[in-house]
Symmetry: C5
Subunit: 308 residues, 5 copies
């Protein structure tokens, strides 16, 4: 399949990568309904681990089955499907080659009380290769007292993934004693989190949609001094994209908590307008009945198509 100009442009920012990683980036950008557009819509399903089974799947019990999500990702035309080791281990053979797959390499549950949030490393680059993945995913919590451990584990994983031609996607979710609850999605913190992930060598970065709140006093002074527009979600998305190597790293946004279809689509429209490279949408997809989920994902895909 010939590359579109846009995909060629994106690849040009990754010129220092080896052909293995470039190949997997192309597999990602040339799959599904957004193939060739330079946009991505990814289905991530790690809520079973992160929030427990009943909170994740009771609204749509078919979703207890790992195969369900593979099929949803395929049928909806998503760019990729991302999940922890167990889920992929269960379906990777059956669905081999039908959708780009991303192995999520660390996870956290909500059963323990912890002071400094940190996810456990639950998979490896070897597992990702064995399971036919295009890449690996890893979550960091900037703001946590345990962030250095996470950055350093990521460093090891990224080094190995690069050697072996995989794509590295970093979920950059600020959290921990260094931040207020509101600060976790503050625009300054979100932009900072995107920068950190880019500097750590991520190929693709996932952040949460930023609010207009500003957490750090020093940052506030700069936003005011230089009158940086932050009012709309489109404005804030634009700022995050700029903070991610001036747009030279792919940054995508999560859908957040499950909400009404209209609210979800309104946010996606704003983010697309602000230059987002796409969305990663879990609960809003799989917690709806399958037909509704397919319609929502289709609408999201359509927004990104029009945004070109």
């Amino acid at each position: 399949m010939a590359l579109t100009t846009r995909v060629e442009q994106i690849l040009s920012w990754y010129a220092a990568e080896n052909p293995g990683t470039l190949t997997n980036l192309v597999r990602l950008f040339n799959h599904g309904a957004l193939s060739g557009t330079g946009k991505l819509v990814i289905l991530p399903v790690d809520q079973g681990f992160e929030h427990g089974p009943v909170r994740s799947f009771a609204p749509n019990p078919e979703a207890y089955d790992p195969d369900y999500h593979f099929q949803l990702a395929i049928d909806s035309g998503c760019s990729a499907y991302a999940a922890p080791l167990g889920s992929l281990q269960a379906g990777a053979a059956r669905f081999a080659g039908q959708v780009p797959v991303i192995l999520k390499l660390n996870n956290s549950d909500t059963l323990a009380r912890v002071e400094q949030p940190i996810s456990a490393v639950t998979g490896s680059v070897e597992d990702a290769l064995r399971l036919g993945c295009v890449g690996v995913g890893y979550t960091i919590y900037p703001g946590s007292g345990a962030r250095n451990r996470m950055y350093e584990d990521l460093r090891e994983i990224t080094l190995e993934a690069r050697r072996k031609g995989l794509v590295v996607i970093v979920w950059s979710y600020p959290r921990g004693a260094g931040l207020s609850r509101q600060g976790e999605t503050a625009i300054d913190v979100c932009a900072y989190a995107a920068t950190i992930a880019a500097q750590l060598g991520a190929h693709i970065i996932k952040v949460k949609p930023p609010t207009a709140h500003i957490e750090q006093e020093e940052a506030k002074k700069m936003y005011e001094k230089y009158s940086i527009p932050l009012q709309t979600l489109a404005d804030r998305t634009r700022h995050v994209v700029q903070a991610t190597f001036n747009g030279k790293r792919v940054v995508i946004f999560s859908g957040g908590e499950s909400r009404s279809t209209d609210a979800v689509l309104a946010d996606v429209r704003e983010m697309a307008a602000g230059g987002s490279f796409g969305s990663i949408m879990g609960r809003n997809a799989f917690q709806r009945p399958r037909a509704e989920a397919l319609r929502l994902l289709s609408d999201v895909i359509q927004i990104y198509k029009s945004a070109r």
Copy 2:
């Protein structure tokens, strides 16, 4: 030995495994009185380490001898025998090939005071191979502040076990500062623990029989909103099986503390009715005199046979 349809179906869920692990799964499912049924009854003996010798073996002093348990597992028609390094080291040569053996790779004693429960790693995949085992066992304590260390140690072990064709059985026992005492066997926690083990890549998962208590507020809302039946142990077993990849991972249940034969069998009947893949029964077996133990295990096996 040809595979039964049921065993073939079970194997289909493990299609991403290599032939080595599939072979060992077959060795497990095609051994003993339940051969070919897709059900398992396993004899585990790690109480000497976990509770000390006198509490474990005084009721039936023959059981001080590691050979006793091998013979009991063989004569009762159990699917497998699981024990720590020392016990297997003592009997593995004498009983080589007579019963599938599982090396328990971590253990905890009750002599020290600890804040965050965690077992010590006491064996290795290399030991399991050397001793002719079909698989390895590992205990995690979701709810403990040390859970990440356990998940990560398990990750290493699982990776190596997979490479070398062994089966991985995870004892998922919620425990620690994140949970009330009652919460350790709560239905939401038990289902969550099964999901975590499945996501960590376990082939077979062992949990405790869940009570009707619900520990987490967020989970409670969902159980109520979707009217999920939790009244009988059969209901709760069904929910745990669903939470374990919708039944696509083998989940078995422990027998709990030693009790009357009737109580034990009543529970097993409920769990079998709820779709349990089997039981793992230690103290209730080896703390009875040998004849009684053989009778009890035979009755348990009979229940699972009828449950097909």
Copy 3:
């Protein structure tokens, strides 16, 4: 040298070991005055490290010299000599092949204040091989909050020692915040400590002579319920032997603090009567003048010879 029936019986419990380890077990059991009896008397000298030089050697200044202990072990007909790296490094070449040697792989000094007792690893299997040893020794402190670290270090050492055909001797000394001072030598704790060492894969286990005190409430109930005799040291020795895989692992007893010759011999007689596999006697030997030490060791050996 042909094996005696007793040594053959002992070897039968170690059938899962490779020929290298079996060879070294034979070297141990077929050396010295107790050759072929299945009993062991070992001279251990790590007090210089553990208690400091003046407390260890001032009573008999010849003992400052590492060569002294090699010669004492040889001349007394002991089964083996055990010491830390430095001592063996000093004499191993000169006395090569004259007495089985055991490298003690961890040690603790009394100069620092510590909350959770743990010894430092001070030698390696490679050192033991290089120095011509039959085996390695390692101390664990069940009851310490640092016990898992010790068990896991021991696991690594045991794995390597087994691969390379060495014998592993574990000093199992309960100690730490989980235990009262009196509890360190309580019969339940001592039996538990022997079980733990056996389960960790030790070939030979060394414990302290147990007192009639019972530390753990749960254990007490069992001793009472089953009327287990604990009155004499012979009774208690018998119980420890039973707790050590029903006598299928070699368990030997230390001599404790230096005391009168009569007291020492009385204890040894009791332990021999209770089925002890032997004694490991340090201070009571090397802190006496050489002639006295030779006489004492000869008397101890004689007791074990008669105990057959």
Copy 4:
């Protein structure tokens, strides 16, 4: 290109290095406007990671783009460009061979609250080789309770970098519970920090311009007893150069916070007079508009040229 006498002299202090490292030292000293002078002006850009994007780049938004800094380093005639993994990954292929590049191997963000400051290791020697770098950079915080961890990580990195012929540049920034805020730039502390970096095996050392404050009582006595001149920045620079192996290790000075051009140049003049081997100037360069930045760097370079 033939070496100048001065560069030959500098190389003579590194005679124990292998030809690979000597080659990279020459690449550094023979590049840009200061080629052959034995002086260095380096452009470092890690503020995106260290202070966040908006605080770093809002004053000059072109600087959000990693390519901007490569071009600035090239066009200004700087000796080298230093940045974290992500920035180099983005531009290293496009600008390959146009300017010596230094991979900064550890970084710290300001989102978390920490007791003992320490940077995360975010890159590796392998990355530096892969990206065509002449060397690696590493920050230590003498004064931090975590300094030993930093020294030991640096040791590993230095060992590998030496083996593979790279130059090691250490940012020695005293910080932590052992020091007052004022003490971080005190002359005694700064000189001590330079010594530590030199002893750790750094080829090039970067410190902050020292103030006349003296932090440690013991040091104060010596400065007074021997009447060491510390009044001017030139004096203090001279002392730091002396403390860095009597001038036999290359020590360069940072520009500090962004300030007026005059203030910056005045400081550089003093440092050049005191024998500094050069400057490393980040914020004062890239936060100015490009034309201004080029003028400032040109002026700084001119000062060092005249200082020969």
Copy 5:
């Protein structure tokens, strides 16, 4: 060069070492003014790291230059020169082969506040080989809560050094929460520290000159019971030599803080009379003007020559 009887005798205590280490021991004992005497005078210079540059070198500014110390060690006829990585890296090529060199592998600075003293590992056996050293040096702090970490790091280093034929010299400096300030040089503690170093496998041990203070109650009883003479420094030296494997390990003494020439020489005379194998003298040498230092070292050497 033929060996003297004394050097042959010393070598006989190291018969378990491989020829590589024996060769390096000979290089040490057959160099300089004390060649063949079995005595050593070593010049150690790590004060730049340990106390900072100004406290170390202001009294004699030539000493800021690493080359100065190489030359001093050569010209004074010292047996060896010991220093950290950076110092050796600076001069090892220029002075290659002119004096035996010892790489000090760990170091501590005084800029941070620490609870449990421990030095950072700052060099490696590979560095020592690369730099042509005869051996490596390592400091332990018995009495520190971090002592086990130090002993275990030393174990790794010693194992590798032995494999590669280097000599291991241990600086055994009691320090930490387990000891009073006065206790750090107490005779019982000093003798204990020497024993620990010997047991850890050191070839050469360096301790501080012991005072007549006794720190540990249990030790005091023994000194009194056996009337061990401790009054003069010669007495105490004799006791330390005895505690170091009855004189079968080389133990040398540091010079302590810089003091008057007479005081230094008086102490050396006492220690030589007590059987010390030599002195290791840093500050008292390099903080004096070169001519004075040469005279002092010459006098010290003369004392040891006469002590034969």
